[in-house]
Symmetry: C2
Subunit: 353 residues, 2 copies
């Protein structure tokens, strides 16, 4: 790790057991931020480091958690010679990466993602942050981690819901990237025993490794070309405008909300004649095959719809009366467009019945 | 302002009356962050904008102020289409720039500095942040403003102490840059009526304009070459390690603390045979001529010395047992070196009597 690149130049990927990560920081100060469950599971692998425990899940991403972390930094005397490692899912790395970026204008930060979602998506690309007064990721920055340590075998400790949540981002990557990765994901369904019956213990180690590395490759290529999301990187928000609103209002897991968000974006594109119906169906079948929800009638509740509709107005992608919205036009064909928020709202009224 | 550069590419400088700044944002949403005194002085010049008032001076730079600003952003529905303008001194721009950088991962940010210190130094280069639990600038980031609006004539509203405080940074720039700017500053002393008698109403408008623009040129050239302070930019911290510790413990104005910090750094360099005594004396004479303190016996107090010494350990420039320390070796000859914190502490014991 001695010749670490400048943070702006992108994260280095390592594939090794979690137990071997501490060794990579030998001779340096290491501070591990993790949650309670993971501290119990993996704490012994970081016996030479300081451990800080934050709340599990989205609750980690609060102004209060951030303030508590800084209190701990003061207590421990953390300075720029320290390395911070986020051990956990996307919530842990979003919080810890944000804290590392701000403390003393930036200390070294790396991730050991323990969920599929974090490994293929959240830990990569440097978006970090916390929620504020109910606004998801209202505060945050772009600061890419130095190293990502991936223990693919540790993913088997995931429950099926968490695993499926990560698959939603993999499908998103495939829709953006194109046929080759998309049909690979479809082949996993057969491997897993057919649509609806897919679950991760049935996904072989080789397939899992390929899924992780391909998704990482796709995401990093996009991020490298546009690190601050001024243009092309926006396509990675496919399904996320509706998705974030749903996540916020329903508490559904991130990937489930993104899956529903993609379903909505697909329907929006279909209505505008921007995608063929069979392409759309093929994407929906893959999502559903992975056990992800695609049918909003699950959530048929007028009050909920009104809240989701309102929270679209709080989305970061909104600028004044329009929003940068990601349009899926086919597998390997995703675009962004500025769409009036009102058009999205009235679509929601009509589509969500 | 329509073709604003990406924030990473450096700030654009404009010289115009404060009253004309609002016009530059015509047709856009403008949010002005300022303090109470300035809101009274200049509020009418921003009648078409939202005004947010923060505490005066260093008290603005607190975790609490930051949280309050974000509450205001929520209340006003601030999104990425808004522009934030810091109207004030370095404390206001440090706080507002930090808030702008974090809100929705970054909204447009510009400065209208109202002090000499902010105009020649604090508002330039993108260092922002707040204090945390007594650590000065413990939290912050590098994010350069888009535009700096300089109303040089408004500096005449400064009290002499604030003006002298800014001159300390100008002297620092001159020591870094070399003979030409340094002797220009010396010539101001004659213009002002001789050493010790200098004050800003005696500094002619032309001289003041040259002082502002030369200091800006020197600082921006250094920042452009090393925006994230990985190397050469560190020389801009001349006098700031001791200076921040003094500022924190005594409450002296920033420039006064930096002046004493430079005096200490000069003595440290002299003791190590790194600077000629007549070069050192010439720098001290200029500082003193501008009404800045250079004699630590003013602060001869054992308890204070112990606190200043302790707070060196909390400086961001410390990494483990050493610190990046800036050594003045002559006019136009400034270097950085890694020096053991203990060596600086024992020097302080010996030097400060």
């Amino acid at each position: 790790l001695n010749d670490r690149p400048a943070p702006a130049s992108g994260e280095k990927l390592f594939y090794l057991p979690i137990h071997d990560v501490e060794e990579c920081f030998k001779g340096e100060r290491l501070l591990v931020v993790t949650d309670e469950r993971l501290a119990e599971l993996f704490g012994r692998s970081f016996s030479g480091s300081k451990l800080l425990v934050v709340p599990e899940g989205e609750r980690a991403k609060s102004w209060h958690s951030l303030s508590s972390l800084f209190d701990d930094f003061v207590r421990l005397g953390v300075d720029r010679s320290w390395n911070l490692l986020a051990l956990g899912g996307g919530s842990v790395s979003d919080l810890a990466g944000f804290a590392a970026h701000l403390w003393m204008r930036g200390i070294s930060f790396s991730c050991a993602p323990t969920t599929l979602l974090a490994m293929v998506d959240a830990s990569l690309g440097g978006k970090n942050g916390v929620d504020f007064r109910g606004y998801k990721n209202a505060l945050g920055s772009f600061q890419r981690p130095e190293c990502i340590f991936c223990d693919v075998s540790a993913l088997s400790s995931l429950d099926p819901v968490q695993f499926a949540s990560g698959l939603a981002e993999a499908v998103k990557h495939a829709v953006i990237d194109g046929e080759s990765y998309f049909s690979f994901l479809e082949s996993l369904l057969a491997e897993g025993g057919g649509a609806g019956a897919f679950s991760h213990p049935r996904c072989g180690a080789e397939s899992l490794k390929r899924l992780v590395t391909e998704s990482q490759r796709i995401k990093l290529a996009i991020v490298d070309a546009d690190p601050f999301e001024k243009g092309r990187r926006r396509v990675l928000n496919l399904g996320h405008s509706f998705g974030h609103a749903l996540e916020l209002e329903t508490g559904l897991p991130h990937g489930f909300s993104v899956s529903l968000g993609m379903a909505l974006a697909l329907r929006y594109a279909l209505r505008g004649g921007l995608i063929e119906d069979d392409e759309r169906s093929r994407i929906l079948r893959l999502l559903a095959g992975f056990g992800l929800p695609v049918d909003l009638s699950l959530l048929a509740d007028g009050a909920l719809r009104a809240r989701v509709s309102a929270s679209l107005f709080m989305d970061k992608k909104r600028e004044g009366a329009t929003m940068n919205f990601v349009l899926p036009r086919g597998i390997g064909h995703v675009e962004t467009a500025r769409i009036p928020v009102e058009a999205l709202r009235s679509f929601l009224e009509e589509a969500w019945k």
